[in-house]
Symmetry: C2
Subunit: 234 residues, 2 copies
Amino acid sequence: MQRYFAVDKCNNSFVLADSDLHHICHVMRMKSGDFIEVVFERVLYKCKVDIGANVNILFDSVMDSHDESHSIVLVVPVLKEQKMDLVLQKATELGVSRIIPVVFERCVVKVNDKESRKLDRWNRIVKEASEQCKRISVPIIDNVCSISDLNFSDGVKLVCSTRENSKNIKNMMHNILECAKMYIVVGPEGGLSLDEEQVLNEMGFVSISLGNRIMRVETVPLFVLSILNYEMME
Amino acid sequence: MQRYFAVDKCNNSFVLADSDLHHICHVMRMKSGDFIEVVFERVLYKCKVDIGANVNILFDSVMDSHDESHSIVLVVPVLKEQKMDLVLQKATELGVSRIIPVVFERCVVKVNDKESRKLDRWNRIVKEASEQCKRISVPIIDNVCSISDLNFSDGVKLVCSTRENSKNIKNMMHNILECAKMYIVVGPEGGLSLDEEQVLNEMGFVSISLGNRIMRVETVPLFVLSILNYEMME
């Protein structure tokens, strides 16, 4: 069954975005009486499509409501379009809760007045990926920020480092899984500057190594998130 | 130092592909006396560039020669161009030894007389990725084949399954790591047909689940390879 995220609920019907209604009528070519899955406020509903003068999405039954056991916040550099899209899509598939795009010293992409257009695009990507991989929440994407905004008081805080030799993700895993909330910083191409890593360390981020492989920057979040999913597997 | 894979060695000099010589002279704009890394037959050499009427790549010293502790053979469906490129590049970064492209029942991509052009393209991608991530071997890519060709006598053989409930990659890891050679089959979009999975099971491939996440087909190899890298981390 096709899944959509509703923007509102009104009595026994749901409000979907115009683009989703278009998808239902003109891409999926659904008819009155067809069923869809609708997610609203982290609850999954079975709904009936009713197509008349307007398209109505009518409540049928509650299917599921559950939440992730861990909340993973991913801090990523602002990357070139294709790489950023890949990271957003794959991080969504791999269950990330929130994505914070940061401009680091060595970021090649400049952020300017086009930022709101970028954000719209990024939000569309994570929404579509959430529908496709049947999540019941869409990751939140923060506004583009700088390293000094990464001041969090709760959870375990990690920074993927190419300088760290002694602590790797494997021997730190026990500490990582103890916390229900994790923040993971991935640096840009060329890595974090020494200054940046020190600032993060002072803010409580622990530098960890990901082993000996040399990975492209867009591979790193997928690598870390795959491992976390694996370790949380029952 | 820039890394290149040599096609031959002749006394104290190495033979590089024309495209690599072009890269050295016209992209990197190296001069006589500059050093590069050259890999030949899984040994890493430091070499000096000598540019005259011809470009000579002269032996300087041996830098490294080591091999992966495990050999990972990845069996993947033939995918559309962009997804296939992504899988090849990322699988190379994550240390795969050999990639076997297979046409499954539900593959949407047809393979025809363009196969040799596809193979050339794929080989170029894994060579460039190997140079970029500083491997000392380039993954071997087999000719496109069918499921009946996957008859291997050695190693642990796994098929990523959406049907399997009891055995997941985590509780099978102990058995997996016992073998120095592993074969991992990833199915196409829409999954393997029941018939295909049964044929593979009869050939000794054990069906394993990757947990509850719904992943796009191109995410699956990256997920599995990330986990294997993690488990092999010291």
